[in-house]
């Protein structure tokens, strides 16, 4: 292991700080490490036409198989004890008094035969004594990311409302269940001492993007983060943000502040030729309400120091690394960690959640028995990460004559609650997206992320952009109203078009098709005929107001350091095996990745290993600092062919179809080029005179898969099984493993592939497997998990300056929404909506439209129904559930009427784009704009509840 490589560098090799680890998928058809396509007598999920008949995991899910982590018990786990304990947490409901202790007398006295006292009580003092603290120094995790204590020690004031103070463990379910029900809403169990000052952590972070473009969009920027500038970071003085000093001749930060000051002057000195419109907007805290509440099942074997766990997480590698880090500082010994992960769902909130570590803590105190910590909904509301509330002040400067946008200034404030988590990152991503689908010649977008006594906010579908783009989309409609311009016409004048720069100065990858979407929206009957429809509806429905609104947004996908591995190989019988890290979170990854292979090779794999984390065939190391590495250091380390900026990414940020899919598609193409094509040429060349291929000029580019056979150029189609047999017989390449890295651009590298020659691919590492007939000396090279690791001969990594780009990959959606406001009940009903999505090439159209429909429902919930108070009386008080937190139901989403269209790709080589986040966003401002059309009031906060309607109706 090279010097200076991190804990995570070790992790990738199946060993972290000397602890052997293994991660395996549990769920459904992927229950074993390597499983065959489900062998039920239900017809196969892939039809004879090569298309998915249904989801890969469909039968398991529709028949109630154990698929979620929550479904598993100790008795389901091979080699685990059958005796299992159950735990629940006691939560504090104050953050202004010192915690004194707990009084469990409500559960009876120890002498009582029918007491419900726990078999084990774990308090903060136990954890302090045993050195059990939340992970804090795992590489890449800032201090305080997971908070500083699991359980508040007696004498200390909780950091935030609802912070756990004790863990109660029961060795039988019946008593656990009865005890939990008895004290669930009992506010006397937790005892409080003296009133104290708040114990809130320090505020979390700030960021600012300033850009002054040239005279024309493609002129060089006067100032931008990407073009010689930087992202600006301020500091906190108490609750005040202090930004650095401005200096035109100073460093990049000082010049940014100089540029910001110029924009302030321009706004202040604006003349009558421009409209200066300033609006406030508040986007509320919500609970993502993943239906599977947080849970974990953990067995810590005291004798051997082995930890076994079943956890629902979107970030298993991080969970492993951080758990080991946690043990390092404790009195507990860890020799081995087997993590089993079920299918899960979190909409982002199970990415880097602290919950799995609470489950580990429960396991530590199980006295050798497996312990299950499975939250109910009330508890989940208390603990699950929330969507960040944003308070936003936006100023738009518009030329009154031309309608051209001149300046966007956004000053945003977010509340991250009592643990840091990803608060600064979510805040900054939201800020980077505030421009929505417009080109702004000048912009100054800043954010400050505050700590508070609220339940923590974290990664949630949309990642800050639901909030900022909603503010911008509502502001644009307000400007259109002020200027007397049709909202779509104003959008058209200012669209972000291909080749233009974003507010960080980066040019997005590929074509921006904003105008096509806008054209379709403008021509749609819901929009085109809205005035007549309003008049007709209101004439026929006295007391009801009709409105139509539109919004269009674009959302980045990916995290700016996306790393993936896919391994594809076949045996001599032609059975195709795929290994990759992708996990199923409901989005259909296991279906879509298989279909990507089919698109290249004409068939889905026969064997799958999803959720893999150990890739001995890809022996790479990483220092895992892709965001902060210097160009010089990257250049130096890149000379080592075993080095990569990052090994594997978590499942997040809508990254599966494009980024992980890139590894899958590239591996399939590489297998075609390096294996099947040479095998085909060998077969076509048989016979006198060089065989049937000799008279022709056929190249790899001519090859097509037709009816599951390799064909093209007029040559005899060859079945893949025969090609596999030939490749094995001749010792050709029969398997490939690729590692990919993307920092808003793909790494590319060259390799000298034995038997093929120099090959350049959009990957940074390649291993190959040779067939059974390969000579012994060639087989001897297959030392990396049965593969031959081919050191790259050259590599081109994306430059580190791209870390300032913010984002370069966008997916776009426009949504027209029709609402009816009942002036008697003050309810807003969404009665119809139409969405237009551009997401590149679709892999499985049914999954795409399902995501779209689901995202729209979630957006409708945000706009109209869902809301959490932040502090006292909020979710931390333990009384929140779906009876009072209103989720959208079918009747709320125009279930029979809603329609959508998806732009066809520009070519059949357009890659698919991540689209699971963007689809929920446009509908939020579209509803606000529709309500404005209906009643003449443009709301500056969500949700638009009957109470808020009542306040503004005359």
């Amino acid at each position: 292991m090279a010097k200076g490589l991190s804990r995570r560098g070790f992790l990738k090799a199946g060993l972290v700080s000397g602890v052997a680890y293994k991660i395996a998928m549990l769920a459904g058809p992927a229950r074993a490490d390597l499983v065959e396509t489900p062998a039920s007598r239900v017809p196969p999920w892939v039809g004879p036409d090569g298309k998915a008949r249904f989801r890969y995991d469909a039968v398991a899910k529709v028949t109630g198989e154990k698929t979620f982590g929550r479904d598993f018990r100790a008795v389901d786990m091979a080699g685990w004890p059958r005796e299992q304990s159950h735990a629940f947490m006691v939560f504090g409901d104050r953050a202004d008094h010192a915690f004194e202790g707990i009084d469990l007398s409500v559960l009876g006295a120890a002498a009582d035969a029918d007491n419900l006292l726990p078999d084990r009580v774990v308090m903060g003092a136990d954890l302090v004594r045993d050195g059990v603290r939340p992970p804090s120094d795992t590489d890449g995790l800032p201090d305080g990311f997971y908070g500083d204590v699991f359980l508040v020690p007696a004498g200390e004031t909780p950091r935030f409302l609802g912070q756990p103070v004790a863990l109660l463990i029961y060795h039988d379910f019946a008593r656990y269940d009865a005890a939990k029900r008895r004290i669930r809403f009992d506010t006397e169990v937790v005892k409080w001492g003296a009133r104290t000052a708040p114990n809130t952590p320090g505020n979390y972070g700030t960021g600012r993007y300033v850009r002054i473009g040239g005279d024309r969009p493609d002129d060089r920027d006067v100032y931008s983060p990407l073009d010689g500038g930087t992202t600006v970071y301020g500091r906190f003085e108490g609750e005040t943000v202090v930004w650095p000093a401005a200096d035109e001749a100073g460093d990049a930060t000082a010049r940014a502040m100089w540029a910001a000051a110029r924009l302030d002057e321009e706004i202040a000195d604006a003349g009558d030729d421009v409209l200066v419109l300033t609006r406030e907007h508040y986007s509320q805290s919500i609970d993502a309400s993943a239906m599977e509440a947080d849970n974990g099942l953990v067995w810590y074997d005291l004798v051997t120091g082995t930890l076994r766990a079943v956890l629902g997480t979107q970030s298993p590698y991080e969970t492993v690394a951080s758990t080991v880090s946690m043990f390092d500082k404790s009195r507990f010994r860890l020799t081995k960690f087997d993590l089993s992960i079920g299918y899960t769902v979190g909409y982002g909130t199970k990415d880097h959640s602290v919950f799995p570590f609470f489950a580990v803590v429960a396991g530590l105190y199980g006295e050798g028995r497996p312990v299950r910590l499975a939250l109910d909904r009330f508890e989940h509301f208390r603990t699950a990460m929330k969507r960040h509330p944003f308070w936003m002040t936006s100023t738009l400067v518009v030329d009154r004559t031309t309608g051209a946008f001149r300046v966007l200034k956004g000053a945003y404030r977010t509340d991250g609650g009592g643990r840091r988590n990803f608060s600064p990152e979510v805040s900054l991503v939201g800020t980077s997206a505030a421009q929505s689908v417009y080109y702004f010649p000048k912009s100054d977008l800043s954010v400050a992320s505050f700590a508070s006594r609220a339940v923590e906010s974290g990664s949630t579908r949309g990642y800050g952009t639901v909030q900022t783009m909603t503010a911008t989309e509502v502001l644009v409609d307000a400007a259109a109203a002020e200027l007397g311009i049709d909202p779509i016409a104003l959008r058209r004048k200012n669209l972000f078009r291909s080749g233009m720069k974003n507010t960080q100065g980066a040019v997005p990858g590929g074509a921006l098709r904003n105008e096509e979407i806008l054209d379709r929206a403008a021509a749609h009957p819901l929009w085109r005929d809205r005035a007549a429809a309003k008049a007709a509806f209101e004439a026929q429905n006295p007391g009801k107001r009709y409105g139509v609104g539109y919004a269009q947004v674009q959302k980045d996908y990916g995290c700016g350091a996306e790393a993936a591995i896919t391994t594809l190989s076949f045996d001599a019988a032609g059975r195709l095996t795929m290994r990759q890290q992708g996990m199923e979170m409901g989005t259909g990854l296991t279906t879509a990745q298989a279909m990507m292979v089919a698109a290249v090779l004409g068939r889905v794999p026969d064997l799958y290993d999803y959720g893999a984390t150990r890739f001995p065939e890809m022996p790479l190391v990483s220092n895992e600092i892709p965001y902060s590495i210097t160009q010089e250091e990257q250049d130096r380390l890149a000379a080592d062919p075993h080095w990569t900026p990052s090994y594997l990414s978590a499942m997040t940020a809508s990254n599966s179809v494009y980024y992980i899919g890139h590894a899958t598609r590239t591996a399939a193409k590489a297998l075609l080029a390096l294996s099947l094509w040479p095998a085909a040429v060998a077969l076509w060349s048989r016979g006198p005179g060089g065989g049937q291929i000799a008279p022709l000029a056929v190249t790899l580019a001519d090859v097509r898969i037709v009816d599951g056979m390799l064909a093209g150029g007029g040559l005899e189609p060859l079945p893949l099984d025969r090609l596999a047999a030939t490749a094995h017989e001749r010792g050709l390449v029969t398997g490939v493993s690729v590692h990919t890295f993307n920092r808003w651009k793909w790494a590319t590298a060259s390799f000298d592939v034995p038997g093929v020659g120099p090959t350049t691919l959009p990957i940074d590492a390649l291993s190959v497997q040779y067939g059974d007939g390969a000579p012994p000396e060639q087989k001897a090279l297959m030392t990396a998990g049965g593969f031959h690791f081919l050191p790259r001969t050259a590599v081109d990594y994306p430059e580190t300056a791209l870390n300032n780009a913010g984002v370069t990959y966008y997916t776009t959606v426009g949504t027209i929404t029709e609402v009816v406001v009942d002036t008697a009940t003050c309810e807003v009903r969404v009665t119809n909506h139409h969405s237009i999505l551009e997401c590149g090439g679709q892999v499985v159209p049914e999954l795409v439209s399902g995501q779209l429909q689901g995202g729209l429902a979630m957006g409708i919930g945000h706009a109209l129904y869902e809301e959490l108070p932040l502090y006292e009386g909020g979710p931390s008080d333990g009384t929140w559930n779906w009876n009072r937190y209103r989720l959208p139901h079918a009747a709320d989403v125009a279930v029979w009427k809603q329609t959508s269209e998806i732009l066809p790709p520009l070519s059949d080589t357009d890659p698919p784009k991540g689209m699971a986040e963007v689809v929920m966003i446009a509908v939020v401002p579209a509803i606000i704009n529709a309500v404005a059309d209906a009643i003449g009031h443009r709301f500056s906060e969500t949700p638009i509840t009957p109470a808020r309607i009542r306040e503004v109706l005359p």
């Binding site: 039920s40 028949t63 018990r73 379910f173 239906m291 599977e292 509440a293 779906w882 079918a890």
Partner: protein, 182 residues
Amino acid sequence: MTIATRPLSLVVNGRQVGPLDVPENLMMVDFLHEYLNLTGSRLACGQGVCWACTVMLLDTDGAPPREIRTCITGAHFFQGRHVRTVEGHAERDADGAVVALSPVQQAFIEHFSFQCGYCTPGFVTGATVLIEQLKRQPVARADVETTIEAALSPHVCRCTGYVRYYEAVRSVILDTPGLVVG
């Protein structure tokens, strides 16, 4: 320590269960999960508002089966009763392998009705109960959509936005002879 228990016997998915000593206050969903290891009926809200945990009550004296929320119904309510959980809808062979899905299950998978699948067992139950009701009391073709809305409206799905569930149920109703009139 002891918790008051009572013997409980019932039929689950055609199989006689019990008598088992079951706490008097235990909810059915916990009985299914912790005593029978049938975890397909999902606990999500625990207060009867999301309907992810429902099962079919079959012994209804000739009336259509009923959909029961197991998170708010005590296990002992089912003493002597016949219930079908989501695990009991598909036809299975002697080894428990699925031989054929029920029409509702088949429609859900073909319509890509679910994503995470946590709510799916409740939708399978609710839709199947509806189909059974319609076998006894068909509805006018024009009322199919409102009938589905009325039957399934309490069910919460957080991933897929309901459209594909509702379309799947509509297709089953329209494709099954005798469920609609007119």
